[in-house]
Symmetry: C2
Subunit: 155 residues, 2 copies
DNA sequence: TCGAATGAGTCAAGCTGCTTTACTCACTGA
DNA sequence: TCAGTGAGTAAAGCAGCTTGACTCATTCGA
């Protein structure tokens, strides 16, 4: 045993965590290099959740898997920095529609490009199709068929 | 496109995070069920780092990827709850050797069993060998050949 | 032999990102 | 008309780290 390289004899859970951590760290590093050092992964997740028609802070909270207060704080932060705007909600009430600004859409485009470049590079040394397929099976086994749960920013 | 189930059309990074989060959550849930609701993943990592001859708090800090103060706080906590002891270091100095108690060794045994049961169950619906192999390749590509970095408990 | 440097440990304060609690306010509907 | 509902928000609390500053045993060099 211990015949090969990194990963042999290591717990699967540990390997999953390391894979995620290293890919995310490399992604974050590259984004910082092109000027997005001020945005954490959760901000990108928020952009994903808001793209299209936008959402209320409470809807955002559900999609991110946090409390509405936490979502409100994230929106405060992003609004202060010009990535989102709060608009009156078309359906009225106390609701406000949080929508992306052009700055956020730029970030989404750049992040998508960086992500796919990184994946293409990894495809040089790993079978990304197989990795993706087996990960999807694991996720489906543990969470069922109905959509995907929020990816929480903590253990 | 979008031909199958969960995971198609989802970013690889997201899928990695989700896989890790779901496997870790299920592992933690099962451990809590058998009486270890008081131990977080980082405690299991500390036990792994300390098993064998033990280590100083500073060595533990390096292996966990945190400051020595944080490691000291973790050791305080685990000592208070009877999972580790501080012994005088055989090589003297101000050093103290942190060693596991029987309670921690019991936990390591149970956690190992639970982890392998979980992996065996997942093997019913996913090719764990392939998953492990491709993850190891990704890790090696991003971190190189020399060992494995610490798995940090935060994004 | 003395004294500065080294390195482990620890105390205290600070910070971040979340939660909990508690409220305000716009609308709804019996 | 007025209690109920649901979105938003204000404030405090908390966990788990970090940073900064210190003590003290040991070492090593002038």
């Amino acid at each position: 045993m211990d015949s090969g390289g990194a990963g042999d004899g290591v717990e699967l859970t540990f390997l999953l965590g390391l894979g995620f951590q290293l890919v995310l760290a490399e992604f974050t590093r590259r984004l910082a290099e092109v000027g997005y050092a001020d945005l954490r992964p959760v901000h990108g997740m928020a952009f994903q959740a808001l793209k299209g028609r936008g959402a209320t802070a409470t809807e955002l909270a559900e999609r991110l898997g946090v409390t509405k207060q936490a979502a409100g704080q994230i929106v405060d932060d992003l609004e202060r920095r010009g990535y989102v705007r709060r608009e009156p909600h078309p359906e009225g009430g106390r609701r406000k529609l949080v929508v992306l600004t052009a700055a956020a859409r730029d970030h989404l485009a750049v992040a998508g490009r960086v992500l796919h470049e990184l994946e293409a590079e990894l495809a040089g040394s790993a079978d990304i199709g197989a990795l993706r397929r087996e990960l999807a099976r694991v996720v489906r086994t543990l969470h069922g068929e109905d959509g995907l749960p929020p990816l929480r920013p903590v253990w």
